[in-house]
Symmetry: C2
């Protein structure tokens, strides 16, 4: 299994890196793909990280290799991704191919702009999507068909383990939860 | 308030960066100080980050500026820190000055080597310290006098919020827990 994480400056460090860490622990390949043109990315709380790749037009033909796309939260990252036509096109492509499309915290606003939340159960950080235009749920992580949304730093492990369950099954996710001493 | 995080290659990304992120959100300055001689550090799950500073002998005279020292887990980071005389000297200095000395996952082994766990309540990732040589507790985070220990990725938010409570008080920590939608 292989997933694409689209990411830009002002990403929320815990949301992004908990997801990458736990998916990799569970055997899912994660490509942290910078949308800024630079490998070095600045987190919203002053942590600088190196992405794995820089997005280029040539990547689009490789989307078929991936099993899902994930957007971390944080500002301005979430709004930058929402306003990026390359991201919107990727979200629509992955969704129409029935692959996992996931976002946490403020980043579900990008899924909303891509039209993927209409008629779906979804969540987000409070106030970050229009609760009247989806079936809004105040629970840590919502799975609705192939759309996965979650709420924030406090739900990042739940988000990552939910994604791992979808990609690798409940046993892998459960074993990892035990291994990291998670009691959520 | 200002804290020193000593860190080297093979650090556990979630444990290190959740702590940095949440302490900074709560108004605590965190200096991620590389013990490797390089700013670029490699996490144990393939995430590369930039430290804020590189340790040098000149830093020792600045230890008085800090209110605590924190060691993230991960391998080989935890063992590298345990075997580093500069780290052991810092732990002893901070402890003797009654400042916060904190470690998570495998890193409490460095506190053990510094002799700081004798007669103390403490915890760690299972098997990482000698449970017969302290008052070992199987709870997410243990505060015993100025020594703070925690268990792993699944307890990283609890560890960070516990440290924030000690540095900035329960109201700041409680507000942050609410703000990140943490229900631990």
């Amino acid at each position: 299994m292989k997933v694409l994480m689209m990411i830009s400056n002002g990403f929320e460090e815990v949301e992004a890196l908990t997801t990458v860490d736990l998916l990799r622990r569970g055997g899912v390949e994660v490509n942290m793909c910078s949308m800024t043109g630079e490998l070095l990315l600045h987190g919203s709380h002053g942590i600088d990280i190196m992405a794995n790749s820089i997005w280029s037009e040539a990547m689009v033909k490789d989307y078929d290799e991936y099993d899902g796309v994930i957007l971390p939260g944080g500002l301005p990252n979430s709004h930058t991704l929402r306003d990026d036509e390359r991201v919107i096109a990727a979200l629509k492509k992955f969704a129409s191919d029935s692959k996992i499309v996931a976002a946490i915290c403020a980043a579900p606003c990008a899924l909303e702009r891509a039209g993927l939340l209409v008629g779906k159960e979804a969540t987000s950080y409070p106030g970050c999507i229009d609760e009247t235009k989806c079936n809004y749920q105040e629970i840590p992580t919502v799975v609705c068909d192939n759309i996965v949304t979650s709420r924030g730093v406090g739900t990042a492990i739940d988000f990552a383990l939910t994604l791992l369950r979808l990609f690798k099954g409940p046993e892998v996710a459960g074993d990892l939860a035990d291994g990291i001493l998670y009691e959520g």
